[in-house]
């Protein structure tokens, strides 16, 4: 398999400490870790947000050297803060992402946004708004998708549908890196899981003692249970 994304020594002051990673074509990789472990920072560094250091190559090209039109074909980024700076119409907002009319029609149909496409984004429900913002990132069909908490605010059915959609999207020589808190969804849909802690990639996969140490939880009888970081006496007994 050829490397689709190669990143070396990515760093952001005080948040991310020299992370290197490789994604193969066709891979859906989930990024998990406790709050403040550096998931968003790693996505920022890859997307070129906030003056990161280190090298990034997507399909052999540094996307940060491309102009906006070419860059959205190499890589798009969905931030976790679903910031609405300006009340645009949903379809116009998706179009600002750089996709053509046909691609926009396709993603609007896929995410079932036909009914809200001509309404103003600030008048939509939180879940609809999230789907519009996701559509903006998916519409140009970039080589690399960088998504921060894409399932947040979605109902359970849409969470599953979105992860299945991403699974389908990464076929055909593309890849996705998805930060997510839902460990079960990560385990179910990801080709690989990277566990972050303290601004570094601490482990790969959800097995082993390191996950219990990092998250303070472990899997027992098919359920996640706290094992650490609870006040003494309230720790659940095995």
């Amino acid at each position: 398999m050829t490397a689709l994304l190669e990143a070396r020594g990515l760093a952001l002051p005080r948040r991310l400490h020299g992370v290197s990673l490789t994604l193969a074509a066709g891979e859906l990789v989930c990024l998990v870790g406790p709050n403040g472990s550096g998931k968003t920072s790693l996505l920022h560094a890859l997307a070129g947000v906030g003056a990161p250091t280190g090298t990034v190559s997507v399909g052999g090209v540094d996307p940060r050297r491309l102009g906006p039109a070419a860059r959205v074909r190499a890589m798009t980024f969905l931030p976790a803060t679903r910031e609405l700076r300006w009340p645009l119409h949903a379809r116009d907002l998706i179009a600002l992402g750089g996709a053509d009319a046909e691609e926009i029609d396709r993603i609007v149909a896929t995410l079932e946004l036909e009914a809200v496409a001509d309404r103003r984004i600030d008048l939509l429900s939180t879940g609809e708004r999230s789907r519009v913002l996701i559509a903006r990132a998916l519409a140009p069909r970039p080589t690399l998708l960088l998504l921060d908490e894409p399932t947040a605010n979605l109902d359970p059915l849409w969470q599953i549908r979105l992860m299945e959609l991403l699974k389908g999207e990464v076929g055909g020589g593309r890849a996705a890196l998805v930060a997510i808190h839902d460990l079960d969804a990560a385990a179910r849909f990801a080709d690989r899981i990277l566990v972050m802690d303290g601004g570094r990639i601490a482990a790969e996969g959800l097995d082993g003692a390191h996950v219990a140490a990092i998250f303070g939880i472990e899997r027992a009888a098919g359920e996640w249970r706290p094992v650490l970081r609870l006040p003494a006496g309230r720790r659940s007994s095995p």
């Binding site: 906006p68 700076r85 009340p87 907002l93």
Partner: protein
């Protein structure tokens, strides 16, 4: 925004500009019969500069207003409500009456410096993503401070006629400016409009949020600096020649965005055209008013603009911050 709408606005603009040179026609027509040379002089020295100033000042205000609103993500930001015009007026007054430099270049530099100072202060006070209340209160405070300092500077001026001298200019006036003065306002104003137009794409994508705009490769700090410096340059240079004219920079972008389905960046071009049209129309109205030349144009734009602003605040209050 269709080409036809744009063409209609340009046509209206050309008509207004032509009317601005021709109206009132009676004295000019009579003069053309008796003394064509004097008539040409009246057109070149009085009417053309006035029409040109209305066009470029209105365009600079419209384009700057649209860019500032896009930058602050706030439809109530504008050169006058952010204190930019008052800062420019203060800069020009200090340069002319306290420092004693009255050359157009010195006045323009002073006004641009004042405008820059006011915008820098606003960014420091309110931050780049200001809530409407913070933005308006900061702008109000800066305007009040600049206004008080302007009055103080005039009171301290060595010339006993400083107040009387500055009155017409402070209220905003396009009258009795020479072609050379008009050129001094027009060159920076047109440069500002042209360079702001290049920021239309980045400012539209800024509507997706700063993180997304950065992921497109836009340097937010550089974008902010460009909008602030260009606005200060265009508005400052016009204030130096014509004084402070309010509300055009607020109203023009709001009309312009009705033509761009709300897109803040691509509204810069129609906002410049609508701003030019509004100021030219206001100048025609001032001339048609029975008060004649005693009514400064800034008073008229404020008389019409302030109620519109109040309506806007009342009407849009609930959806200012999405």
């Amino acid at each position: 925004m269709t080409g036809r709408t744009l063409a209609l606005i340009v046509l209206a603009l050309l008509l207004a500009a032509a009317a601005s040179v021709a109206v009132p026609w009676a004295p000019l027509g009579a003069l053309l019969d008796r003394d064509p040379e004097l008539a040409t002089l009246v057109i070149a020295e009085l009417r053309l500069p006035r029409a040109a100033l209305a066009l470029v000042y209105g365009a600079a205000l419209g384009a700057s207003g649209a860019a500032i609103q896009a930058l602050f993500a706030n439809p109530l930001a504008s050169p006058d409500l952010t204190g930019t015009t008052s800062g420019a007026a203060l800069g020009a007054v200090v340069t002319a009456y306290l420092l004693g430099f009255t050359a157009p270049l010195a006045l323009s530099s002073g006004a641009v410096a004042g405008a820059l100072g006011a915008l820098a202060l606003l960014l420091a006070l309110a931050g780049p993503k200001a809530e409407t209340a913070t933005l308006l209160l900061s702008g109000l405070a800066i305007s009040a401070l600049a206004g008080a300092l302007t009055t103080l500077a005039l009171a301290l001026a060595p010339s006993p006629f400083a107040f009387y001298d500055a009155y017409d200019w402070l209220m905003g006036s396009l009258i009795d400016r020479s072609l050379a003065q008009a050129a001094f306002a027009a060159a920076p104003a047109l440069l500002t409009v042209a360079l702001l137009l290049r920021l239309a794409g980045p400012l539209d994508r800024l509507a997706l949020g700063e993180e997304v705009a950065q992921s497109f490769g836009h340097d937010i700090l550089a974008l902010r600096l460009q909008v602030v410096c260009l606005t200060a340059l265009g508005v400052g240079a016009c204030v130096a020649i014509c004084g402070a004219i309010g509300f055009i920079g607020l109203v023009a972008p709001i009309f312009a965005r009705r033509l761009t389905r709300g897109h803040p960046g691509r509204a810069i071009l129609p906002a410049a055209l609508i701003g030019a049209l509004l100021l030219t129309a206001a100048d025609l109205a001032v001339r048609a008013a029975p008060l004649g030349r005693t009514l400064p144009i800034g008073v008229l734009t404020a008389l019409l603009g302030a109620p519109f602003f109040l309506w806007l605040v009342a009407h849009m209050r609930w959806r200012l911050r999405p």
